[in-house]
């Protein structure tokens, strides 16, 4: 057996690939489910928190800042392990899927809040002046004038962060969520062959390249000529 044959048998083994294609495909579905759920709740929560922060209610803002800093500082893996193995001790038992979804949503929300808040701050004060001078109230100015501009500014960093966070669905493998890596690792353990991992890597590319292309489209769609 040549080195090349050994390499091919280890990484591109057709028999193993055929045997585990179904399992990897099932993992892809789970990954997509978690990722979509995380995107929806994480971005919505992040946007909501940034809007709340704009009202500048001191005690509330302090809580938001603490939440945001904690979830940006902690590695998501630590939070996932804490939630999955720790919470049952205090009587809260969540499924592995729920823990993964919840933790990644909170992490994405923390980053999204910071990004949108930075966007709100970077809208020039003159925009507030102009809107308020026509009789628009604070909330009307925020929602019709400031937030649309803030979100447009936020979209490139937001898509980056959204992609980074959804890739962290792979962390679900440590608590037994049947996503791509979990399926691939199981197959590797059974066969002693690395082909399923390579299939998993390919699956990520197949799932995320369209997402990247879509993100690029969204960024271009929302860019507008600045005054």
């Amino acid at each position: 057996m040549t080195d090349l044959d050994r390499f091919l048998a280890t990484f591109l083994n057709p028999a193993v690939a055929g045997q585990y294609a179904g399992a990897i495909a099932a993992g892809v579905l789970v990954t997509i489910e978690v990722a979509v759920a995380v995107l929806v709740t994480g971005l919505a929560l992040g946007l909501g928190l940034a809007v709340l922060r704009a009202y500048r209610i001191r005690p509330l803002n302090a809580l938001i800042v603490i939440f945001v800093d904690v979830f940006r500082a902690l590695p998501p893996l630590v939070v996932i392990l804490l939630a999955y193995f720790g919470l049952p001790n205090v009587g809260v038992t969540l499924s592995a899927f729920a823990v993964l979804w919840l933790v990644l949503s909170l992490v994405l929300a923390a980053f999204a809040e910071e990004i949108v808040w930075a966007g709100i701050l970077s809208v020039r004060k003159g925009q507030w002046d102009a809107a308020r001078s026509t009789g628009l109230g604070f909330a009307q100015t925020l929602f019709y004038v400031v937030l649309p501009q803030a979100v447009r500014l936020a979209i490139p960093p937001l898509t980056n962060r959204a992609i980074a966070t959804t890739k962290n669905t792979a962390l679900g493998s440590v608590i037994g969520v049947g996503e791509i890596i979990n399926q691939a690792q199981t197959a590797v353990a059974v066969t002693g062959n690395a082909t399923p991992l390579l299939m998993g890597a390919l699956a990520y590319i197949i799932v995320f390249v369209p997402v990247l292309i879509l993100a690029g489209r969204i960024e271009r769609r929302f860019a507008w000529r600045r005054a």
Binding site: A131, S133, Q140, P148, R225
Partner: protein
């Protein structure tokens, strides 16, 4: 003499230790065009911004058609839609078209339907000579055109008073004329206006009264002819000579 539209009394404002308005009294009669002039830092822009409480005065009284804006119970948003304001930096909403800029407050403040708001908005844009630019975004317009859209945005709400904060200072010289022409037509239509500007030729020909401010106080005021030729106060004379040159 008719009751003033705007009556400011003993208005004071400090930024930290710096007192920028030291008890201003200013009264503006219906259809009057008042020109505020003075060196930079004299408080003219702050005074203007206090008139609709974009800047919060420390004390004093601001009456708009007899209604006290400094009252705690005063509906400030209701008062502000009666006061149009035009800014040095235009401050158009960059994510909206020219028409969208004009119709936003018509719809959300006055509660007009989209169709009615767009009708009024188009008429307002037509009035500033930009009917054909309704669908353009601010980034596609020149500075002069942007400022005229900003004027249309303010005028469409049918304010009783218009405040202009250095409306031509950010414009290239060749674009100033178009904005002044719009202001002139507003004046001819009987709009009451308070203008902070360095356009002394415009002050000479269009103003009813020139108010000279320095160091947060009104030094002297009078009709432009008198102010430009026979100002009483040496500071006024020096300033108007310097700037009118």
């Amino acid at each position: 003499m008719p009751a003033p539209i705007l009556d400011v009394r003993a208005l004071r404002k400090s930024f930290g230790p710096l007192e920028v308005l030291k008890g201003i009294d200013l009264s503006v009669r219906p259809q009057e065009l008042v020109f505020l002039v003075g060196p930079s830092g004299s408080g003219k822009s702050t005074l203007l911004r206090c008139c609709n409480r974009l800047e919060e005065p420390d004390s004093g009284s601001i009456r708009l058609e007899g209604v006290e804006l400094m009252d705690r119970a005063c509906d400030l948003n209701a008062a502000r839609r009666r006061i149009g304001m035009v800014f040095q930096g235009f401050n158009l909403y960059p994510h909206m078209t020219a028409l969208g800029n004009v119709t936003l407050a018509l719809r959300k403040v006055l509660g007009k339907s989209r169709r009615e708001a767009e009708e009024i908005g188009r008429a307002a844009l037509d009035r500033v000579g930009l009917a054909d630019k309704a669908a353009c975004h601010p980034g596609e317009l020149s500075g002069g055109q942007q400022q005229r859209v900003a004027i249309a945005r303010a005028v469409s709400l049918e304010p009783t008073l218009m405040l202009f904060d250095e409306p031509t200072s950010a414009l290239d010289p060749e674009l100033v004329g178009s904005v002044l022409a719009v202001m002139r037509s507003l004046r001819e239509a009987g709009m009451t206006m308070v203008v902070v500007s360095h356009e002394m030729r415009f002050a000479r020909e269009a103003a009813d009264r020139v108010v000279f401010m320095e160091g947060g106080a009104i030094v002297e005021e009078g009709p432009p002819a008198a102010m430009f030729t026979e100002a009483q106060h040496p500071r006024t004379r020096a300033f108007l000579q310097e700037i009118g040159r």
